[in-house]
Symmetry: C2
């Protein structure tokens, strides 16, 4: 018999545009905003044990006072909660509470909560809306924007997950008041990463105002967050699924993730990425792409951010390289790197934003630090 | 401080159009087709213990002979494999084998395998491509097309999952040769469901040619499959995410899923849906929407498909209704129904394709069968 072929053309792109609001002290007004702009059969606040007490209970009360149904679920603090086990418990709790497709998840916390709660929303009844309420600087400048969600496995970070864009992001800088200095530095490191790959002028801005930022000056932090978010939003708009340009945001992450893995995820993400940035900037210099002056500027900035470069000395370069092989950017078992040309510009070869580099070069760069 | 707002506009719809090929005996040529049209760093064949032996091993060998890397993973036969546990084991096996983002999953089997393998592909490294290779009539007419993937939980079927469209569907009718008659009837029941809701002329075609179809006549089966797939493709094109029209395909499924749940998923899906169709057609008649003549036509067809109407008598109507409450179409704990107006046409009220119905009406309709 002849073959029949039927074509299916899925034309309509769903609406996946959204706003990121950055301000100070609006968390208290959020229930009314949510009720009006994002009506839901129930709001499911997902927090960790800490953000639950700091902000979650008050948000729950506020939502109920506004006449909304709401539920507050929490997981332990820390990267360990980005697990299938925690995801399943949250789903079970939501199913047991009868949450339907018109429920809206509120991800209240740092990157761990954003990634986990976003992934729960991505697969609950094949996808329900969620809103990011980042309470760490790192989450504000980076992970709350762009729709990457996921969990970790024994084999590495974020290996199981989904692209699921939030309906909105509300970054309330007042929540940063209680954040330890190490966390502020961790967030600034990610912001600086974006400036290094995409915007020299913002790098200079951060360099000039670093002391104020470290002292949690609200205006400076808001400026740094919105500059970082604007860069990220632009990249995500052009390449949501990380098939090209979005990989630029992985600068420092090939080695950063390897170090996190070697330290069994006990490091702060920003610290590991900072060390990775140092290693990968050194690599770019070694490959003849980055000038010594720009390398020095980057080193100086990372030093002021107290990036513990010595961490890299605790493992043989070969062990670090072995730990990069499971990276999601890998092709055929070979890790790939974002190579800096100068601050604000990365190398693009044959249309690719990441490049394969020989293991020997990477090892030597690590030794050179 | 004033609030800053940054907008993110994700414009580019990813390419999610694809073809469904229906023919006989082309499975042997598939490795060359895949190699040419869907190049991959590795092909991951996911099968159940039965399809692994019937077709999987040969496909694995063929891919390797064509010079491709390939891997064959299997799960036990049956609905029980649509579980988080099996999903996690498949992911672990893929990660261990070093499958990267350029891997392509081949879902070789019936609906269980398509849903499970599709969901694995949906979340592996935030989504990799997959191709449906349905080997049951039910999967060919229905589940392999449309991108619904997922697993079951204690609380109900398909409650965790994703919309993830396959890159292609290849339905080789020759694989149906070994399929038991009950499975053929189960598949025909789903095809008839689509005709009942959307295409009276195809309902008549199926009615006239039912004996040949039941005897696995290749030409008739191909015609029924392509008619059903054409209806489904049209609906999915217009409403991928089941926010409206696509819910029409749930005719028979509100009660069908409840019955499956009451029988702890030991029934064939098509049988449960057949019983559900009978109940929901009776409900439509009771509500004054469906004529007695059309109800009789539907009853006659379902009888020839050996739908075991008596299953409904094993539970009190109240128990059936209670089991519908967790349905994904529910809003505020109230199950909703596709109401037939006549064969080929469903009721649309206030733009909604599903309607809330009082529990008492549903109970009476179940008693009336």
């Amino acid at each position: 018999m002849e073959m029949k072929t039927i074509d299916i053309k899925i034309k309509k792109a769903e609406e996946r545009s959204y706003s990121i609001a950055i301000g100070s002290g609006f968390l208290a007004r959020l229930p009314e905003v949510l009720k009006k702009d994002y009506p839901a059969s129930s709001y499911i606040i997902i927090a960790d044990a800490k953000t639950k007490n700091l902000f979650g209970k008050r948000l729950l009360l506020g939502l109920r006072q506004a006449g909304c149904k709401a539920l507050l679920l929490s997981v332990p603090v820390g990267e360990g909660s980005k697990s299938q086990k925690r995801k399943t418990s949250l789903e079970e709790a939501m199913l047991k509470a009868g949450i339907d497709r018109r429920g809206v998840v509120l991800a209240l916390g740092g990157g761990v909560i954003g990634d986990l709660a976003g992934f729960v929303a991505a697969t609950y009844m094949r996808g329900i809306p969620y809103i990011q309420l980042p309470t760490t600087l790192l989450a504000m400048v980076d992970s709350s924007v762009g729709g990457k969600t996921g969990i970790n496995t024994f084999h590495g970070k974020n290996l199981i997950g989904a692209f699921h864009q939030p309906k909105a992001v509300y970054a309330d800088i007042r929540t940063l008041r209680s954040l330890p200095d190490t966390e502020i530095r961790s967030g600034l490191t990610e912001a600086v990463k974006m400036f290094i790959t995409s915007d020299r002028e913002s790098f200079v801005f951060a360099d000039v105002h670093l002391a104020k930022a470290l002292a949690k000056d609200t205006g400076i932090l808001a400026e740094i967050i919105s500059r970082a978010v604007r860069i990220k939003a632009g990249v995500v708009e052009r390449d949501e699924r990380e098939s090209g340009e979005r990989m630029v945001l992985n600068f420092g992450h090939t080695i950063g993730h390897a170090i996190e893995k070697l330290f069994t995820y006990t490091l702060l993400h920003g610290q590991a990425v900072g060390v990775g940035m140092l290693a990968e900037a050194t690599l770019a210099h070694r490959l003849g792409a980055l000038s010594p002056e720009d390398l020095a500027l980057i080193r100086g900035m990372l030093k002021r951010l107290l990036i513990p470069a010595s961490l890299l000395k605790q493992f043989a370069p070969e062990a670090v390289i072995a730990a990069t092989k499971g990276d999601k950017k890998s092709v055929g078992g070979q890790a790939r790197y974002v190579i800096l040309k100068k601050i604000g510009v990365v190398e693009i070869k044959h249309g690719e934003f990441v490049q394969a580099v020989e293991d020997g070069e990477v090892a030597q760069a690590i030794r050179n630090i």
